[in-house]
């Protein structure tokens, strides 16, 4: 049997092909679930988010613009669905971020590029020196590609706090990597 690429699967899904969705789910649900689990310790909330994610893929596969990695697109949905799932569960639910960190790929600003375009070893060391609060912010905004407001929702802190923590993290990491 010819193996379909994720992009082909998405276009089949946009035409209502359930088998294509099943294949896509089989390929991606495992890592998406694991990655969300690193951001939320409540497995029920994660299961809700994964469910919502693939339902959203089913409904809006046609909206994928065909550029870039389908996996990155799916992740973009998944992390936002996690925020939605957390909010609908309990606004003050504290079992959210358990773990943290950044890296390339989803980087948006040139500054982030400079900050993260560095050998993993050094980066790991620099990240290791950040406090958990700063790490959480770096992860949400840089690695997960969330906006300041989305990151604030995910972490349950004000948007202004996200900005100041991101600034402190940059300063601290520049120092560590210099």
């Amino acid at each position: 049997m010819r193996v379909q690429t994720d992009a082909q699967l998405l276009s089949a899904i946009s035409e209502g092909d359930r088998d294509a969705l099943r294949t896509l789910h089989d390929r991606h649900a495992a890592w998406v679930t694991l990655r969300l689990r690193r951001r939320c310790s409540n497995s029920d909330v994660v299961a809700d988010a994964v469910q919502d994610t693939f339902v959203a893929v089913w409904k809006s596969a046609a909206r994928w613009d065909g550029r870039g990695e389908p996996a990155a697109w799916i992740w973009g949905i998944a992390i936002r669905r996690l925020i939605g799932a957390l909010r609908s569960r309990d606004r003050w639910n504290r079992d959210r971020l358990t773990d943290v960190v950044p890296e390339s790929d989803v980087i948006t600003t040139a500054e982030d590029q400079v900050l993260l375009g560095i050998e993993h070893g050094d980066l790991a060391g620099a990240l290791g020196q950040l406090s958990p609060e700063l790490l959480a912010v770096v992860q949400a905004t840089v690695l997960d590609g969330l906006t300041t407001r989305e990151a604030a929702k995910l972490l349950g802190i004000p948007a202004g706090t996200v900005k100041t923590r991101m600034m402190r993290a940059r300063t601290q990491m520049r120092g560590a990597l210099a």
Binding site: T33, L34, T98
Partner: protein, 214 residues
């Protein structure tokens, strides 16, 4: 790109799949970014995942996408403030609505005919309001109700279900009687009275009024 030559080592993958926390943040982040771009390593993660968990996850997705879209009738009912489950109940028994509408039409036709023939609607008016409700009662016979078997074990069955169905039938009665009123012209007032018991006016009063002058 380095992805073409680099793939996540087995040990890193094992640590990632095991309960979160077994590998440090930087390693996990590095792997996560790699997974976005690498089919092969995603496959390796997939191969380490629990089949039953994936199966459960898939069934949860199917449960949502298989939920039928709301029909026009349901959407109209929900717009009118009917709860979603009640709308489903009412729209979900088309055979029943057809039968109910048919019986009401029959009653209305009888009303028109008797008023034309006897010039008096009194006797008929006493019976008429009961007939649609008879239809509601009959709807509970398992032969007549296609949804009967599923209705019996639900918490909605019983009085609540009777009332909901009665509401539907009375709505139909109003529409048909409105048309009937136009058809019989002068007897319009009587036609309106006929509906009175159905909307809560005491039956004895309605009966007394119509029977005595009749």
């Amino acid at each position: 790109m380095s992805n073409e030559i680099w793939h996540a080592p087995e040990k890193l993958l094992d640590g990632f799949v095991a309960d979160p926390g077994e590998i440090d943040s930087a390693a996990a982040a590095s792997l996560e970014a790699h997974l976005l771009a690498c089919d092969r390593c995603r496959g390796a993660v997939r191969a380490r995942a629990s089949e039953s968990a994936l199966e459960d996850s898939w069934h949860r997705v199917v449960a949502v996408i298989d939920t039928p879209r709301l029909s026009v009738v349901e959407r109209v009912l929900i717009r009118l403030g009917v709860s979603e489950s009640t709308a489903r109940l009412l729209a979900g028994t088309p055979a029943l609505s057809a039968a109910a509408a048919g019986s009401v039409a029959f009653v209305a036709a009888g009303f028109v005919a008797s008023s034309r023939i006897t010039e008096s609607t009194g006797g008929f008016l006493v019976v008429a309001p009961l007939l649609p409700l008879l239809a509601v009662g009959a709807a509970f016979a398992s032969v007549a109700d296609p949804a009967g078997e599923t209705a019996v074990p639900t918490p909605l069955q019983g009085v609540g279900l009777v009332l909901r169905r009665a509401a539907v039938i009375l709505t139909a009665v109003f529409v048909i009687l409105g048309a009937a009123n136009l058809a019989i012209g002068g007897a319009g007032r009587a036609g309106r009275r006929m509906v009175a018991p159905g909307v809560g006016a005491p039956r004895w009063r309605a009966g007394a009024r119509y029977v005595v002058p009749g």
